[in-house]
Amino acid sequence: MNAVVVDGLTHRFGEVTALDDVSFEVAESEIFGLIGPDGAGKTTLMRLLAGLLTPNGGQIELGGVDVLADPEAAKQKLGYLSQVFSLYGDLTIGENLDFVVEMFQEDRAVAAEAKQRLLEMTDLARFVDRQAGRLSGGMKQKLGLSCALIHRPQVLLLDEPTTGVDPLSRRDFWRLLADLPGQGVTIVLSSPYMDEAARCDRLALIDHGRLLATGTADELAARVKGTMLEVVSRDLPAVSAALAGAAELLGETTFGDALHVRWDGPDAEAAVLARLQAAGVAVQEVIEIEAGLEDAFVELVSTGGAS
Amino acid sequence: MRLMHLLRKEVLQMRRDPVILRMILIMPLAQTLLLSYAANMDVLHVPLLIVDQDRSPESRDLAARCTSTESVILRGYRGTVGEAEADLEAGRATLALIMPSGMARDLERGTATVQILADGSESTTAGVAAGYLSRIIAAFGIEAQTKQALRRGRQVKVGGMAAEPRVLYNPDLRTLWFMAPAVLALVLIVLMQNITSLSIARERELGTLDQLMMTPVRSWEVLLAKLVPVGVLGLVAASVVTMVVIHVIGVPFRGSAPTLMVSTVFFLFSVLGLGLLVSALSQNQQQAQLVSFFLTFPSMLLSGFIFPVWNLPALLKPFAYLVPMTHYLTIVRGTFLRGAGLGDLWVQLLGLALLSALFFITGAKLFTKKPA
């Protein structure tokens, strides 16, 4: 059974169509990522799923419950972690958790057990009496996650959960998420980070309110045209100049001491090397690399998903 | 050059904030009308009882005169002091005039005593009304003695003894006249100090202050740029309020408009300086607003707005002169009611100038240093 079914979802803010006929399904115990540029409609979609907005059209089903017909029942089934820290900074970790428990009117004994389990899982037990406002970014996220999980939801919605969080804390956070599918929790998250997107089972790419593509990270990366080459040289502007104007050149991106070149032609490595040598540009290395999710993202967004 | 850019930015920002603009123009008007009438201490229709135990032509004459003022309204006659006291106790009246038997006789002999009972729980109204009555009684006594003396062909010196106070400039002691100009000052303080106290705190809260201080601007330029537009609006608001005070409330304006204008500029500078100082020292808008709010209390209590400065405890008096409102009140009341000119008010103007400089320079020095 699908944990999330979105069908023909449309939402407008005044004249602006924030979401335009979006449909997708998320299987149970899947980690599903929504990626897209700023203003693509990711947060709107998350808020619609969370029942915080009412769509202009379309259907949303969470855990078999029609969100629009029975929003209260849907709330019990979902946990939501918003983009901005939205817990009480002047309450302690424990008090924040207790507050959520009270709001969901959970059974106290069950809730106490869940609280203890989450505190141990997130390693926050040591800091239970610390005020939430005085935690580091990574720990705030863990607390937010705990609050979203304490009523044992079937679907967890995470809106850019690790924006501004450093890689170390991000890795910890993802380690926590990795255990949830095994417990039957389905995760839908949005992220601007491609390395994070790569951790999802499946992705949906959204731009201008439209769904451009869905698939695994590999499937999306495979849609990138041409061959990706990394050219390492001390004189990157000269490399750029030598390649400029070539019909096979699909794009280039500067990476500090290297240039990533996307080349649409046979025997790309040799062709590029020959062209550079002909121009008298000294290079240390030209190697083929795998196109990443980021390349796919950039290409799909710039072509409107047509590639 | 840089200052022009800063000014332009402040003006643009202010234009984008319709609430502030409306506040600056409408709030002073509403406040002035409200406060002027609410703070009006004129007393009308205080319920009065009369106990006439003398029953003489004189006592009837006095009773008639006492009830002819609008300050009191006659609730009725009572036979005994006890009955009057009971009514006062029950709140049915606030004042009682007791004329003991033998009053007329005593008056003829030289001194007569009447008694006024007042409900102390209504001390202000009762006090003011009792004051009115005392003046009527005193006048009556002198008049009666004079009449008698003349009737008997004796000479009595009365003129020098006249107890009636002559009230200058505001002969009817209309508190409205006294209050309305002061309300002008209060409204300016509350509004201007609040707006400026938010200004820097807001930039600090939003983080724009960091970005601004990363540019080569100097702190005094930032302060001045924030002060000028608000000051200009303050001057507009002050003019509007002044017009209302003169033409709607009907307070006579005896001084010169330029004098009031110049003084208002000085006053605004000091108030805005204080607002900026508060803002410079606050971490966020909430803190700034709270401090600014509490700073309006000394402006009301120490400045002579309610209690005269000469009436303050000696310990507090020096502080009164640190409050810009103290100086400005003297100026406003002086120009409105007394027609005082710059020549009479230079001490106050100097006071305002010194306070402005103090606040502004301290603000400029402190605001780059973040509160820890």
């Binding site: 540029p37 501004g164 890795r171 499946r202 500090g256 | 920002q13 984008r16 990363m214 540019t215």
Partner: protein, 314 residues
């Protein structure tokens, strides 16, 4: 050789007992994009603020373009451009008004101001929103606006504090193209980040942890610091495979990417080790594909360096 754009020597900043920046020294040359990496709270932003003159150092020396921050702060400000971690331009002013204002206070000559503002509006694709209030444009555009405001006066040294936090890859790419151009035209750029693909775009990197600089080098040099080799293998069921891999003391950098399990094998374990791990997983009942080598990223090195550091404090 031209004079360095920035020289920081033995910089220290204490907050009470806490040493936020501990004897940091670094140099940035004109034309160089210098990346400053480190976890939250490692002292990156504190260092930037001291270079900006927004915070006084406890000890140490900062020289920008030959001028000492301690004595010539005003002169230095005109040579610095600063993009803060959070959007801090005026949200009620339009994009254009913000640029005219900042150009103006930075002392861009009145005759050139309009022209430079137009140039940057055009270069950073802000034309469509030039008349909109800065508070109402998207995060990505706000970042572009902040960058434009910081470069109008052609600073010698550009300081970027996590400039693309929360920005999507398309906008991030465009942003870094502009930064590369600025560097190419001679500006020195210091950028703090913890987004690793940004780090890859710097000429030189410095990794900071707990107030100290831990390591420094070009991205290629930093990547070379990764010990052992990193491998990736398709697994099912993924969750159980992750738990199993984590239970092995000889594996590090264990992480799950969808259905792919990543792990690092230490060099001394020999060349057969990666396959041995997959074999072992199969014995435990996990379905696996063949392990494939993964090119180490700066993030791998970053996590490796930090792994041994004392645990995170709240």
């Amino acid at each position: 050789m031209s004079q360095p754009a920035l020289v920081v020597t033995d910089l220290v900043r204490k907050f009470g007992d806490f040493t936020a920046v501990d004897h940091v020294s670094l140099e940035v040359q004109p034309g160089e994009v210098f990346g400053f990496l480190g976890p939250n709270g490692c002292g990156k932003s504190t260092t930037i603020k001291m270079i900006c003159g927004l915070l006084a150092p406890t000890a140490g020396r900062i020289v920008v373009d030959g001028l000492d921050v301690a004595t010539q702060a005003e002169a230095i400000r005109a040579r610095l451009g600063y993009v803060a971690q959070f959007f801090n331009l005026y949200d009620t002013l339009t994009v254009r008004e913000n640029l005219l204002f900042f150009g103006g206070v930075y002392g861009v000559p009145a005759g050139e101001l309009e022209q430079r503002v137009d140039h940057w509006i055009d270069r950073l694709d802000l034309g469509g929103v030039a008349g909109q209030r800065a508070g109402q444009i998207s995060v990505g555009l706000q970042r572009s606006l902040a960058l434009a405001a910081a470069v109008l006066h052609e600073p010698v040294m550009l300081l970027l504090d996590e400039p693309t936090s929360g920005v999507d890859p398309v906008a991030r790419r465009a942003f870094f193209e502009v930064i590369a151009e600025l560097a190419a035209s001679g500006a020195a750029v210091l950028v703090t980040t913890h987004v690793m693909d940004e780090a890859e775009r710097c000429h030189r990197l410095s990794l900071m942890n707990r107030g100290r600089l831990v390591t420094e080098g070009t991205p290629t040099e930093i990547r070379a610091l990764a010990g052992g080799s990193i491998w990736q293998v398709e697994v099912a069921p993924a969750g159980r495979a992750l738990t199993l891999a984590e239970s092995r003391a000889d594996l590090s950098a264990v992480a799950l990417f969808g259905t792919k399990l990543q792990y690092r094998v230490a060099e001394e374990n020999g060349t057969g080790a990666p396959e041995a791990v997959a074999e072992w997983l199969r014995e435990q009942g996990i379905t696996t594909g063949p392990p494939k080598p993964v090119r180490p990223t700066i993030e791998h090195v970053f996590l490796q360096v930090l792994r041994d550091a004392p645990e995170e404090q709240p």
